[in-house]
Each structure stands twice: as structure tokens, then as C-alpha cells.
Amino acid sequence: MIIKFKLNGKDVEFDVLEHKRALDFLRDDMRMTSVKEGCGEGECGACTIILNGKNVNSCMVLAVELDGQEVWTLEGLNEIGDTKIQDAYIEKGAIQCGFCTPGFIMSTKVLLDKNPNPSEEEIKEGLEGNLCRCTGYTKIIEAVKFAARGEK
């Protein structure tokens, strides 16, 4: 089935299998390797993308459902130079193995777009769909606060 959608600001057209997940399609066919498979059941958030302005688990979306929609992955944020959040994660050492990081950054992006100055509690709630097994989260929360304040 042919789908047309906007990926990272650009129009894309692709023939996808009906049973393919958006996760596999974006990662394997579109080569958006920031989109990672962790659990495959919506628990870990490693496959988080931004779909029409909202963070969603791409393992729970069919590729065909992207038709007519707007999708952002971390690659897109890099391309347009929107690296404020990434820079904050690096600055605060909120990255260890890095596997969960793209998902965290996409959730952080949606959180800060909606709420530019979140409290610690709001940060925890905004990121509760993303799991990290290395950092203990303290540095991640610091990074989000750092990104929110817009410090360089």
C-alpha cells in the first residue's frame, strides 16, 4: 500500500506492507536508526517518535497509519539544527549507553513544547513512558531542566 506522509519536514512516498509496524518501516526502510526497538510493547519508549506533535511508541503504530501524517525523528531535529535538548543531555552527562536517548529526547521535546518550564514532578510525568537502565534518571531530569532554561 502506497503511503504519503511528511518525514522530518519532507514529503515522502513509499510502498509499505500492510502489517509492517511504523518502527520497522522507519528504521529499516527509511534508515532512521534513532528509532530503536527495546521491548516492542510500548513499555520502554526507545522507539518514541513525534506523530502530529505528540510522542507515541512507533512499535504500536502501523506504517500504513502514517499516511497523511507528520512524523519527526531525532534525525530531523539534527537536520534543522534543533539540538538544544541533545546538547543539554550531553552537557549534563545524561547519556550512558545511549540506547534510550533518542526516545527520551523526543519525549522531552514534546514536553517542553507544551510546557516550557516544567517542575520536577512534571518532568517525571512527561518522561514516564521512557525507561533508562543506566543513568538512574537524576542526570536526565537535570538535562531537561537545563534545556528548559535554555542555558548554553
Binding site: 500492510e18 518514541t48 514516564e128
Partner: protein, 276 residues
């Protein structure tokens, strides 16, 4: 390997549903996991998002939540948040932001899980479902036939649901699980109570995850109307529910643990309701 359809009218959707061994896809947060785990293997997946998305509307004391409305849509609706604070509390404990951005209340009812958090809310808020294409309106608890089973004809589907506002009620809701986010209830309890001074005017009590579907005993509720809101009364209630509820052991908890929690949550509800 299923085929995918995205019909644009109620009739098209209904015909597809009657013709194939199918599952409806709206949010997909349960469907995608179950298909991947091969728990279910439908021949056809019908995406309901091809139907025009209607707005959430209010009519007097009722809210109408149409097909394809997500939990996030509800949480973004100020009027809903003002008028249904208990349901807001329940929704905030469902999944994670990513899940709430996709998952739908109607999907939760469609799953008919005994642990269905929103399903529990519909038992407390006089929930009705509008069924298409027959245009029937039925009480949601009468739709539920057991875990994962709905009393619907092959061509029928839930098109919208209606909840009734509970003005002047105090509420208590607790979902017991192993962590905060992404939690499936081990047991949950929702209590709504309306008092006239110290006297109980109305009470609604629903337990989740302790039976084949949400558990509510109208006769026990009716039995306490007109009585004084007191610790003693809630101790009596705790005993009554303890006697009558027979949960099962599953991956999340043992039957014995659940049974103790049936009692303890009821006592806890007294202290919480008494506070506010």
C-alpha cells in the same frame, strides 16, 4: 499477516466487520502488542480512524465521547477535567504519555479486560454505549460478556459512549500495581459517595481486576443508603465484599493477596473519603 482496511463510512466499516474475522484498530496500544505476541491473529484489521472524528460534547449532565477520541484528547478538554475529576485521576494512571496519546476509552471498553481502568469508570458514571449501525443505546456493563468478550452482533461496533456527571460526590480511586507508569492493576477500587450531612445519600463502589469483569454489587450499595458515614460501616462493607469477591491468581498477584486487598482498600477508602 493481516489485511488492512480503512473505511470512511459507518456502513462500510460495519460490512467489513461482519464479513471478516477482524479486529478494530483505533489507538492500537493493545491490539499491536497482542498481534505481535500472536495472542490474536485476525484476518483483517479495520482502522476506525477513516471515519470522520467527532468532537467531545456535553449535554446537560452528560458527556459524549466519540470513537477515535484518545485519553489525551480528554485530558486536554478543560470542561471534561472540571466536571469529571475522578475520571481524570483514573486516566492519568493509564499507561504513559505515549500510550495516552494513542489509546482510546472506547478501545478500553472493546478489550473488556477486568483490569480495564476506563471500563471501571464507566461502571461508576452510568456509562452508556451507542452501537452502530443499529443505533441502539446500551448500558456498558450489559455489553460486557466476560474477559475480552462483548455482546455485539458481528456487524456492530461501539460508536460513542456517554458518562453522567456525579455532582456533589466525593471520590476515592486507587490502583494497586508494581510501579507507577505502565501499570496493569493488580486490584483497583473506585468509590463515589454523596452525603447529606453524615448520612449516605448515594454510593457507588466498583472493584477492578478481581473477577471476570469489573465488580459492582448494587444490593450492597443500596443496603447502606440512609446509614451514617462511619468507620464501622466501612468495616462492615469491607467484610461484605471480602466474602463475596473471589479473585483468581495470575501473573500479577495471588488470589489470597487480592482478597486481602479487597478488604484493606475499602478501609483505606473510608479514611481518604473522610479527609476531603
Amino acid at each position: 499477516m493481516f489485511r488492512y482496511y480503512k473505511p470512511h463510512t459507518i456502513n462500510e466499516l460495519s460490512e467489513l466487520k461482519a464479513k471478516y474475522d477482524s479486529k478494530l484498530l483505533s489507538g492500537g496500544t493493545d491490539l499491536m502488542v497482542k498481534m505481535r505476541a500472536k495472542v490474536i491473529n485476525p484476518e483483517v484489521v479495520i482502522d476506525t480512524k477513516g471515519l470522520e472524528k467527532e468532537e467531545i460534547t456535553f449535554d446537560g449532565s452528560k458527556i459524549r465521547i466519540p470513537l477515535n477520541t484518545t485519553y489525551d484528547d480528554l485530558l486536554s478538554n478543560n470542561e471534561f477535567c472540571d466536571r469529571f475529576p475522578m475520571v481524570v485521576d483514573i486516566i492519568k494512571q493509564i499507561g504513559s504519555p505515549q500510550i495516552r496519546n494513542r489509546a482510546t476509552p472506547i478501545g478500553n471498553i472493546g478489550n473488556a479486560s477486568p483490569a480495564g481502568d476506563f471500563l471501571l469508570a464507566t461502571y461508576l458514571f452510568h456509562g452508556y454505549a451507542e452501537i452502530k449501525p443499529s443505533n441502539k443505546k446500551v448500558r456498558i456493563h450489559q455489553l460486557i460478556d466476560g474477559p475480552g468478550r462483548l455482546r455485539l452482533k458481528p456487524e456492530e461496533f461501539i460508536y460513542s459512549i456517554e458518562l453522567k456527571e456525579r455532582k456533589g460526590f466525593k471520590y476515592y480511586y486507587e490502583k494497586v500495581g508494581k510501579r507507577n507508569a505502565m501499570n496493569i492493576a493488580i486490584i483497583s477500587l473506585g468509590v463515589l459517595v454523596k452525603l447529606d450531612g453524615e448520612i449516605i445519600e448515594e454510593i457507588k463502589i466498583a472493584y477492578g481486576s478481581v473477577g471476570p469483569t469489573v465488580v459492582r454489587f448494587k444490593d450492597i450499595e443500596d443496603g447502606v443508603i440512609g446509614k451514617k458515614f462511619s468507620k464501622e460501616l466501612f468495616e462492615e462493607l469491607a467484610e461484605k465484599y471480602y466474602e463475596r469477591i473471589n479473585p483468581i491468581t495470575d501473573v500479577r498477584a495471588t488470589a489470597d493477596y487480592r482478597k486481602k486487598m479487597v478488604k484493606n482498600l475499602m478501609l483505606k477508602s473510608y479514611y481518604n473519603l473522610n479527609k476531603n
